[in-house]
Symmetry: C2
Subunit: 232 residues, 2 copies
């Protein structure tokens, strides 16, 4: 079976967390908007297609199922591709960690759009500077410190004691934060997360993906954006 992934073209964004999972699993999927254009998503968003009504991309089509919200998609894909441990407690915990990653991602977005997603960055730059300062000084340490502790608790290598979709997402978070906030990220050591990210990048399927044209580069349209003035 081939999955259909629906996400905006031209950026990694939230879709990237799903792509990493599909690529790591070597699952068969089509990144639909990349071949057919972003308009292909509109009938879903307008409620003209069957199945669940998505609020926003990304959403995944798996047979007749339509699944939206990144963490929900990974919660669905994980067991199907051996990317989450067996057992209800482990799956709930994996999902909890993923939801905390989602919170971090939303806050990373709001560093450059603290007032309104619909306004240009330039129209909210002053607010962005204040929010980014707090993000660098309080939120990054709080979130990454938490994930360091979670990896520690999982035995030092993986938060869940084995490779999972959470590792793939933590890799993306570390890549994104290093792209957006290189100075701030260089001021702190995150040894567990760094080790995890390095191991994920070396996984054959992920290494092949990162070297491919399917991996869009970080840019100023995604979640993680680099503006020097937001990096302190």
């Amino acid at each position: 079976m081939t999955y259909q992934l629906y996400y905006w073209t031209g950026l990694q964004g939230r879709g990237e967390f799903v792509r990493l999972c599909l690529e790591d699993a070597r699952a068969s999927y089509v990144d639909v908007a990349r071949s057919e254009g972003d308009d292909v998503m509109m009938p879903f968003l307008r409620g003209e297609e069957d199945g669940a009504l998505p609020f926003a991309p990304p959403f995944l089509k798996s047979g007749k199922l339509v699944i939206a919200q990144v963490a929900n998609i990974l919660h669905y894909l994980g067991p199907r591709h051996g990317l989450v441990p067996d057992g209800e407690p482990e799956r709930l915990y994996a999902h909890q960690l993923q939801l905390t990653i989602a919170d971090l991602v939303a806050e990373a977005h709001d560093t450059h759009h603290p007032v309104a997603s619909g306004l240009y960055y330039e129209d909210q730059r002053d607010e962005a500077k204040r929010r980014a300062k707090d993000f660098r000084e309080s939120r990054i340490p709080k979130f990454l410190g938490y994930f360091e502790k979670a990896i520690e608790r999982g035995g030092g290598i993986h938060p869940l004691g084995q490779h999972s979709y959470v590792d793939l997402s933590l890799f993306q978070v570390m890549e994104g934060l290093r792209y957006a906030f290189p100075k701030a990220m260089a001021m702190h050591a995150w040894p567990r997360l760094d080790g995890l990210a390095k191991r994920v990048a070396e996984r054959p399927n992920i290494a092949a993906y990162l070297a491919s044209e399917r991996r869009v580069a970080f840019n100023q349209m995604g979640i993680f954006r680099h503006y020097a003035e937001l990096d302190g």
Copy 2:
């Protein structure tokens, strides 16, 4: 079995979405911090307790299981108390809707704290005014319009075609938004959501809860806060 709910005392906050579910189900639970104080949560947050490591309250203890993140808790409780339909597609959809509610709740919070959770409202009032304007004019219509459409799609009464934890959370969202933004909310009709909220409030277990001392009133410490200058 008795659940232990851990959440900050003195406010509804994110814990309220869990409480409404437990109350509607007439589940046996203890709101632990209310009897023992907020410090009782610290060993969990410091990683000194077994089980999943929570990033923040609320978290629920169910036997040995520790479950954090509101949507994750409801995803766990729903099937155990008949508060979500049977079937994987329905449960994924319920969870997706709940995650979209979580996004709305985070944005509602950020109307009064657009810069930093750690700063006083008064120190970010100017930014709050700008963010709240966008929230009232763009985000409330987008989110509530989406949920109206979801209810329509579910047959006009419930988004999932039957009562579920999503209805309970949508009730809380409507109550919270009406408390925080009475003027903005009065400018628009949300007939499906209003009907749903009214029916939830009339459910015997919910009506009893709302009339009890267990229901903390909305106040200026929770997610939904009323500041006249943010209501336009």
